[in-house]
Amino acid sequence: MTSIKQELRHASKATREDVFGKVITYCCVAVIAVLVISILYFIASRGIATFTVNHVSLWSFISQTSWNPGLLDAHGQPQIGALAMMVTSFTVTILAAIIATPFALAVALYMTEIAPNRGARILQPVIELLVGIPSVVYGFIGLTVVVPYIRHLFGGTGMGILAGTLVLFVMILPTVTTLSVDALNALPGYLRDASLALGATRWQTIHKVLLRAATPRLLTAVIFGMARAFGEALAVQMVIGNAVLMPHGLVTPTATLTSQLTTQIGNTVMGTLPNNALWSLALVLLVMSLIFNLLIRFIGKRGQLS
C-alpha cells in the first residue's frame, strides 16, 4: 500500500514531460506576442512622430493631396497630404475585389457543385500555380502587356488605377477562389439533398440555398482578397505610375500607400520628416489591415449566430 501512496504523491516522467511541453508552448507564444507588440509599437511611434514631433496636422494629412515631404510650401509648412494615395489604394482594392469576386465564385461553384471531380482536379493545380507566381512577375507582365494595351486604348502613359486593378485582380483571384471553395465545401450535404428533393433545379439550389447559406464565409473570402490587394506593393508599384497625384480617372498615373513606401523608403534619412511621413503611411496600412481583420471576425461571428 505504501508504494501506491508514494506513487500518488510523486511526479512521474509523464508529469515532468507535461510541464516541459507547457513551458515550451508558453515561451513560443510569448516570443510571438512580444514580436507583434514591438512591431505595432515601432510603426505606431514612428508614424505618430510626424504629428507629434514635426507638428503636421492630422487633418491636413488625411485631407490634403499635395505630397512633398522634403519641401516647404509658401507658408513654411511641409506638404504632407496623403489623400491621393489613400484614395488610389482604396479604389484599386475595391475595383479588384469587384472584378475578382464573380470570377472566383464561378470557379469555386464549378469546382464544388458543377464538376466536383474533374473541375477540382484540373483547377486546383492552376490556382495553386497562380498563388506561387511571385508578385514581381505579375508586375512585369502588367508592365509589358497590360500597360501598353491600355495606352493603346485610352492614350496617356497607360499606367494608373486600371492597370493596377487588372494586375491585382489576377493576384487576389486565387485567394478569393480558394477561400470560396472552402466556404462551399463546408456546407452540409443535406442542404443540397433537401433542395433537390423538393424539385429545385441545380441553379435554384446553388442560387437560393447554397450561396445564401455560405454568404458569411464568402464575404470573409472577399475581404481576405481585399486585404491582400490593399497590402500588395511591388506589382502595383510597377504599373501604377508612381506620381503622387489625385487620380483624375482610371488611366492617369498615381500612387498607392504601398507603392510610395517601396519607392521612397530608400531615399529618406531615418528620423527626418520625409522618413517619418512614410512611417505614417505604414501606420495607415497597419490600421487598415487591422480593420479588415476585425471585419472578418465580425462577419464570421454573425455567420455562426444565424
Binding site: A194, A197, L198, G199, A200, Q204, A213
Partner: protein, 264 residues
C-alpha cells in the same frame, strides 16, 4: 453471416391500385452493383416499409425512386409512375421530385424562416400569389400536425424548432408541392421516442391521402406503421408481403432470421 440463396425470393402482388412500381431496377455505384433486379409494386394509399440490415441497399433503392441517385449512381430498369417510365433521360426530373416528395434521416430545414422553408419549392416552380402560398403553408403544416405549434411563429427561423418539430416541418415542406407519394428515409432514427411517436401518428393520418414508402431499421416501427413490408438483403429484394405475414410467418429463411435477430 449465414449465406442465403439471393436469387430466391417471395414477392406478392398487393391488392388494390398500384401507385408506383419498379421493373428490374438495378443500381450501380461505379462497377459495384448495389441493387439487383428489384421488381415491386407499391400499393396506393398504403404505408410500405423497406427493411434490411445496413448495406442492404434499402436507402439506395428509395433514393432511386425519385431520381435522387442521378449523378451519384447509375440506375437501369423501369420506374413506372402514372403509366410513365420516370427512369428515362427525357423525363423532367424536377417535376418527378415534386410528385414524389422525400424526407431524409436527419431533419434538414434551410436556415430560413418556417414560411420560407415551406414556400421554397412553390416559389421555385414560379408560384407567386400570396394567397396560394399562405394557403399551402397552412394546409401542409396542418397535415404534418405542426400548425398549432408554429402558427404564431411562421416568420421565425426554422432552426429554432426542436428536432422532432424540424422533421415534421420537413414532412410539411415535402407536402407543400402536393405530391402523390412520400418517400421517407429513416425519418425518425435521429429523434427521441416522443417525437418518433408524433411522426408515426402523423404518417398514419397522411396515408389516407398519400402513398407512403418508408425505410426503417426499427422493426417495431415497421410492424406498427406499415401494411406492407419489403425485406432487402445485400441488394436483393428477398421478400415482399403484408406486414403481419412478414413478421409472423415469413416465407424466406433470410427474412425469418433477420426479424428474429439471428442474422450473423
Amino acid at each position: 453471416m449465414a449465406t442465403y440463396d439471393l436469387t430466391a425470393h417471395h414477392i406478392i402482388e398487393p391488392g388494390g391500385p398500384i401507385a408506383l412500381s419498379t421493373e428490374k431496377l438495378q443500381v450501380f455505384y461505379g462497377r459495384q452493383q448495389a441493387i439487383f433486379d428489384a421488381t415491386l409494386n407499391f400499393p396506393a394509399n398504403q404505408i410500405t416499409a423497406l427493411i434490411g440490415a445496413s448495406g442492404s441497399g434499402k436507402s439506395t433503392y428509395l433514393r432511386s425512386l425519385n431520381r435522387m441517385n442521378d449523378k451519384v449512381a447509375r440506375v437501369t430498369g423501369k420506374i413506372m409512375y402514372q403509366e410513365t417510365n420516370i427512369n428515362d433521360r427525357t423525363i423532367n426530373v424536377y417535376a418527378v421530385r415534386r410528385h414524389l416528395g422525400m424526407v431524409f434521416q436527419r431533419p434538414n430545414p434551410f436556415a430560413k424562416s418556417i414560411y420560407d422553408n415551406l414556400t421554397f419549392a412553390l416559389k421555385a416552380t414560379g408560384i407567386k400569389s400570396r394567397t396560394i402560398l399562405d394557403d399551402r403553408v397552412e394546409q401542409s403544416l396542418k397535415e404534418a400536425a405542426l400548425w398549432e405549434e408554429v402558427k404564431e411563429d411562421l416568420h421565425k427561423s426554422a432552426l429554432a424548432l426542436s428536432g422532432g418539430q424540424q422533421q415534421r416541418l420537413c414532412i410539411a415542406r415535402a407536402l407543400a408541392t402536393q405530391p402523390e407519394i412520400l418517400l421517407l428515409d429513416e425519418p425518425a432514427s435521429a429523434l427521441d421516442p416522443i417525437s418518433t411517436a408524433k411522426i408515426e401518428v402523423t404518417l398514419k393520418r397522411l396515408v389516407e391521402r398519400y402513398t407512403i414508402i418508408i425505410v426503417t431499421h426499427n422493426m417495431q416501427q415497421a410492424a406498427r406503421l406499415s401494411s406492407y413490408t419489403a425485406f432487402l438483403h445485400l441488394g436483393h429484394l428477398i421478400e415482399f408481403d403484408k406486414t403481419p405475414t412478414i413478421f409472423q410467418n415469413p416465407e424466406m429463411t433470410a427474412t425469418q432470421d433477420y426479424i428474429t435477430g439471428n442474422f450473423g
